[in-house]
Point group: D2
Chain length 144, copies 4
């Protein structure tokens, strides 16, 4: 885990749709929890993913990711999903995310996101107002 | 829609994972929003779906459902998911649920749930404390 | 179940992502099996859902559905998903679908689909070549 | 990509439930395609994931993964999902997987899987019959 401060935190709850026959959260569903936290982080910064896509034609797509699964989350668990910003480049963001339960890290991840045109999927520079927002940090970490 | 009062209401937000290439929420994902609202309703009544399953061996499974799709929800939309209780029987619950946006009903549904044993899947009578909670109503509608 | 002949049949296998902590297939995932069977039925008739959406701007959206869950499917089960055509109207299709295991019906459903414009979501008449294909039936039921 | 031979290959088709409002496959859904290919590889080796879990109390859980997204898959695409075996350890498997379309790699991944007890989630040695099967390779690559 990097020494960066937590930029944003968002709560999640484990429902039946997130679990599998192993009795725990399916490994792919943690990506949904992380996607939700990123969307809410953008919203806390003043940007709505729907408006970014439809009005500004901007989408942040996942370019690569690494996930480590330390302990399983179970049905009914209250989770906290955190986001740290490791790097804001010209057209890419590198984020570190974690899924925690009661302060214990269950899953940790690093993701590289690319800013692309919503229709043509060609790379776009990250808009300055979004870069600035990442550098400023969110007004307040939600869900904490 | 029945004339029953709304028993519970829970907010939801549309993220990329809920949408499809049609640009709107995939029809199956509304069932996830409704499942979340039922789990949170039980929690507001004092029952955790995880503890019910693991400790009490009680699961509420969907026996049948009807869904009508009136208007599509889009990426970024803030939704409200409501639950009305139409009937609490010996081993079954009949609920009416709706997914709304700004007071407008996007999707409406009726579901019959059966109380079953978590491991053996045989029918169980709904525990009296849960029946009583449905008859009393939740302490307060969340998310409103 | 209607007396209509089975128009199409498609195999499915239950993987971890389809199951939940109850140890069986999550109720919402049967809608995914049914969606797959409808897409493959269209393909067997000569229509690709991707091309219909991108080139012809035609999408079949679910307008309403009813599902009855009779018996649960489990991890590893081999399923068969069937489609019967109950009605082909001007802009709507009424289909009956079932999910079976070894000839036993686990889940049965009736769905009304509406033909809409891919971008504007306004109703469209079902193209004559598609109506004709439904009336003719598929060249052969796949997966059987 | 490693120089190991492809151990197994399995076809997949992109349906609406795999796509998102970006018009392409949601990044998390590639994990489902890869999970399906691993289950079918085990089946081709003579092992059913359902029986392994219920009868032998053996589950292969994802311990860590890395995914690189090179090009997006679209609605209707015919995909091929491959598996290479990089290492069979005492209690862990290291696999390389790819999702391809017409020979072009869209997504590549490396996964470490741990063999655990289905109920207690403690590490288990990989059964010798399964280790042998990996060393022997599958009888035939399916879907090719």
């Amino acid at each position: 885990m990097s020494g960066q401060p937590i930029l944003f935190s968002w709560p999640a709850r484990v429902y039946y749709q997130h679990t599998d026959a192993g009795g725990v959260v399916f490994h792919g569903d943690y990506l949904n929890f992380m996607e939700a936290a990123r969307a809410e982080m953008l919203r806390a910064m003043g940007f709505d993913v729907g408006e970014l896509a439809r009005r500004d034609r901007i989408v942040f797509v996942v370019h690569s990711l690494q996930v480590s699964y330390h302990r399983p989350a179970r049905l009914g668990d209250a989770l906290e999903v955190t986001v740290k910003c490791l790097k804001v480049g010209g057209a890419r963001l590198v984020l570190e995310q974690a899924v925690k339960r009661g302060g214990q890290t269950l899953v940790s991840a690093q993701l590289t996101l690319a800013c692309v045109h919503a229709l043509e999927q060609r790379p776009l520079p990250i808009p300055k107002v979004i870069k600035d927002a990442f550098e400023r940090g969110t007004p307040a970490a939600a869900g904490t």
